[in-house]
Symmetry: C2
Subunit: 606 residues, 2 copies
């Protein structure tokens, strides 16, 4: 008979906490533990041959079968005597008492004392664990709930003045906080807020010949006004920023900053730390490229150049600086183009001081690299969701994310759009397409994100490109959030449903069910062991009415095909008992191209 | 741009052989190697950042796009000059020549010399591999083909005299060799051939009160006539055994011996090495049990007792002794009840001297233990096949064995029966059931085995038990192999087909296809990249005719649903062109309850 324990501790603790492993059968064992705080933890398993349990098991079985166990009882007594001899001999201990009983008692009483909890406990305390082995410790990052469940809203602070001719400020953002919170968002994320370079500045629509009053891309970080630890003067002062952080917190919002490592050609570092860059034979530095995109207004640092040690420390210190200002969420720009060892070290350093810091990886790259970034410490990641539109694509992606080993370490953040990505689907879908994408993102993942403009169904593209016309990256954009056709009410409702239904607070626990129409995706979300299910039907067609017969998953409640469930329509707020496995749904893009139900046993209905 | 190599060597070699890794896309890389001999090997991968390839790639792409590459060419020249400076400077090397060209040539000629194979080769020879990493070496056991493909036949030598009143001898076995080989078997396996204990000897049908002339179980090894390195005197002498090994070899058969570690109570070791056993308070040793089976005639050694080091060496030396007598295959009795570290050590020791030794694990136990034994060195294993009778069971097992990671290290040996297992299915199936099980085993696995009696459809059970009546383990059994209803011809044909069709020489490469009848299993076997397929339909019903419409897998040849294939019936020897995806099969247990076809493109037909 084997025995085992799960061992765990916070990385800075000395002693392992131990939980007994229960044998589930077929060589699978289980134990659970709940960390007492967030931060880096270690865990492992220890296993050994439990000689005393083997002995007792044999004695019990044989005794019940009426087999003579005289010899076995002598062996058991000798085992206990040998144990007792190793300790200070004493007749008043549990071991001593058991030995005394075994010398006189009849068979039944002997068996009783051998398997008594006090005896078992005493043996466990003094017996060596035969063939004890320990697995090398495994790392476990314990993060706060927001690493898995949060609704993100992205905006450019400079666009928040309400007047295209006036540069927005942090105070303008403060004024918008109640409205953003009212939509149900938790995280307010800004593109870089640092001084913008002047050399090679981009003009509107990414042209190389800016007008004198063009503002440039905030991703061209650094000028004679400062670098990554400075604030763009037109946005406000450090004090203004501090007021913004405080006001956001009062409104139930967290500020997320962009950590974009690149520099504009007049970033102070080029002069102060020339050994952090790779210089070409003509004295220039190569500008950044992400083919086919060219970034003539930025250059990259050299992570393995002569100045690497100071550079790495300086980059870490930038994150620590903003963390010192109360920022606990960083969206990291293009981490896959920087070394993995840097991220692993940097995230360890930051989390060692601030274990509540969350890092979002903007790695639109090969899956293995995305997963690797999660392994070295990123809390969550952008995904391919933005380009997944068909039933098969969405199903395949969610099955990979929620059922393979990926689910152990990778959390997706489903952004419906970004300043860089104006999805082709939304360019022609009209309002119903925005509702479809919002419903998918908000119900499939615990983390979803909206870049402002989405709620007013902005989708005008640069012709033929997956980019926005008049991109906000290069100019101020003023929007009328009350414009007819906005979907603010629907986004607000979706975020309310996410808060009210824990099954919607993770990408895990999703199951896809049969809807007999390739344009209708049907899935249920459930907590492990949960009674209720959130069932979602989404039409993937923004243009025409779609209908389908679908299977109500009665079997998940062990009900027969003619069983009944209570179904509450969460978007419309009415409920009914549905009977029978086959049901019908009709989704009209002119009305609402999706339906969200809470499904319970009829007895469980309110 | 990354580059990588696969490194491999035999475990006793010093230098790695290297094969370049080809990039398949999506971060997957591939290389292959063919070991030059059998035995333990090591392999690993090395990867690095190929700076020169990155440089050349950028230059080529930009040059083709008409971009000015003046600076890039200077950088390339500086890169080569730096390399050259590390070597003894010389203008006649490939590097030196390339540098000279770059100083004068025009852009096109410069690009040409940079990407010239001679330059690339010279750079690879002298450049450091940036960020070079090596995976820790992985162990790889290279075995001879018989580890994966062989047909086994098991018999008790003492039953081969043809006369129930005369104890069979090795000479009787020699007389039977041509007939066994004619059935197509490759391996002839004997239960233990050592002296049989007299103390607690079992009588016929496993009773505890033997008659004076009862022979006992050969698994009760050891008596005053010797132990594991001795031969039961009634079978013959060591010289007789040597003649048998030689005769088997002349007949194309290999002898497999049983390695059963247990001892009869009068095995010489009990007296000579009392510290190899665990003694009870009354001076006895516990007899072996494998609940509910009791083996009063055997005791087990103590692998971790005081005499462990000598015991382990003695056990190894037994295997080495018989290996010294030319035996290269051992069937190991109940390895899962002995320590895994013992097997790992023992198999390493034996294979270090005789890398061609094959070990078959008789571990009817939990899957994880079966797989673990494969990992520590067993070449092949008994499986649950003997109890798998339904379409779902057979499909699930084969899918696990041939498509999961198990396929990398575990080879199944499908025994249709054993002296210990008289499957319930065969107890009532009559002759058609024996044909069904033979066809399944012989076509699903590269390794299959028959215990004698199967070919004459013996199935009389101990009432209500999965055991044979009058088990040969306790008495001599004489059989008439020409008895009416024998299936010798069908077994012979199956073994011929296995030899003629390499796709049948492994359990890998199997795909299950749709046959619309739960009593008919349909599967194809193909070599990787193979042109032909062996397609097998087996009725699982030994009593009634079964028919099914089934799908001829035209799509595997990229043919449309109305395409045609040439199909040869391998059991009956005729062929025809079949057209269309849906075909019909009728399987009559009174005739032949299975069909085996070779399927090829019509042009590929003979």
């Amino acid at each position: 008979i084997m025995a085992g324990e799960l061992l765990w501790k916070a990385a800075d603790e000395n002693d392992w906490a131990r939980e007994p492993l229960a044998h589930l059968g077929n060589d699978r064992w289980q134990a659970t533990f709940t960390p007492r705080r967030i931060g880096r933890h270690l865990c492992t398993v220890e296993a050994w041959r439990d000689d005393y349990a083997s002995l007792c098991h044999e004695i019990e079985v044989k005794h019940k079968a009426g087999v003579d166990i005289t010899l076995e009882l002598i062996e058991a007594r000798q085992y206990l005597e040998a144990l007792n001899a190793k300790a200070v001999p004493c007749n008043t201990t549990a071991l001593g008492k058991a030995i005394a009983t075994l010398q006189d008692a009849d068979v039944a009483a002997s068996v009783h004392v051998l398997i008594a909890p006090a005896t078992v406990k005493a043996v466990a305390a003094s017996a060596e664990r035969a063939f004890r082995v320990q697995h090398p410790p495994l790392l476990l990052d314990v993060e706060r709930p927001q690493a898995e469940f949060a609704s993100w809203y992205e905006l450019f602070p400079r666009s928040q003045s309400g007047d295209a001719n006036r540069h927005g400020t942090f105070d303008d953002v403060i004024a918008r906080l109640p409205e953003i919170r009212a939509m149900g968002f938790d995280v307010l994320y800004f593109p870089p807020i640092h001084p913008i370079g002047k050399k090679n500045r981009k003009g509107r629509n990414n042209i190389l010949t800016p007008a004198p009053d063009d503002l440039g891309s905030p991703y061209a970080i650094g000028s004679d006004e400062g670098g990554h630890d400075a604030i763009h003067p037109q946005l406000g002062t450090l004090d203004d920023f501090r007021r913004l952080v405080a006001a956001a917190s009062e409104n139930g919002l967290e500020i997320a900053l962009d950590f974009a490592i690149q520099c504009s050609p007049d970033h102070p570092w080029l002069k102060d730390h020339p050994d952090w860059f790779k210089w070409r034979p003509d004295g220039s530095i190569k500008y950044a490229e992400n083919p086919p995109k060219k970034y003539q207004d930025i250059v990259n640092v050299d992570f393995y150049g002569a100045g690497a040690p100071e550079l790495w420390a300086a980059l870490r210190d930038i994150v620590l600086y903003w963390a010192g200002e109360g920022v606990r969420i960083f969206r990291v720009d293009n981490p896959h183009t920087k070394p993995l060892p840097f991220w692993q070290w940097m995230i360890d350093e930051v989390r060692g001081r601030h274990p509540d810091v969350i890092f979002l990886s903007e790695a639109f790259t090969r899956p293995k690299m995305m997963y690797r970034l999660a392994k070295v410490g990123f809390s969550q990641s952008y995904t391919y969701f933005t380009w997944r539109n068909t039933k098969q694509e969405l199903t395949d992606d969610l099955v990979e994310l929620s059922t393979t080993e990926v689910k152990e370490f990778f959390r997706p953040n489903f952004f419906v759009n970004t300043p860089d990505i104006n999805p082709y689907f939304l360019q022609t879908s009209g309002r119903p397409g925005f509702l479809i994408r919002a419903a998918l993102a908000a119900t499939l993942s615990g983390l979803w994100g909206v870049y402002s403009g989405f709620e007013v169904c902005e989708g005008a593209p640069l012709p033929g490109r997956e980019e926005y016309l008049d991109s906000e990256k290069y100019e101020i954009r003023i929007r009328d959030r009350n414009a007819p056709g906005n979907i603010v009410a629907e986004i607000t409702k979706l975020n309310q449903l996410r808060r009210a239904n824990p099954a919607l607070q993770s990408h895990l626990g999703v199951t896809f069910y049969n809807a007999f129409n390739d344009q209708i995706l049907l899935y249920g979300k459930r907590l492990p062991g949960g009674e209720d299910m959130v069932l979602v039907a989404v039409s993937l067609d923004p243009h025409d009415v779609q209908e389908a017969t679908f299977e109500l998953p009665l079997w998940e409640w062990k009900l027969p095909d003619h069983g009944s469930l209570y179904v509450e329509d969460l978007m419309r707020g009415h409920g009914a008992v549905w009977t029978g496995k086959l049901q019908r749904v009709r989704l009209d893009p002119a009305d609402l191209p999706f339906a969200i139900w809470r499904v319970t046993l009829p007895g469980g209905a309110p």
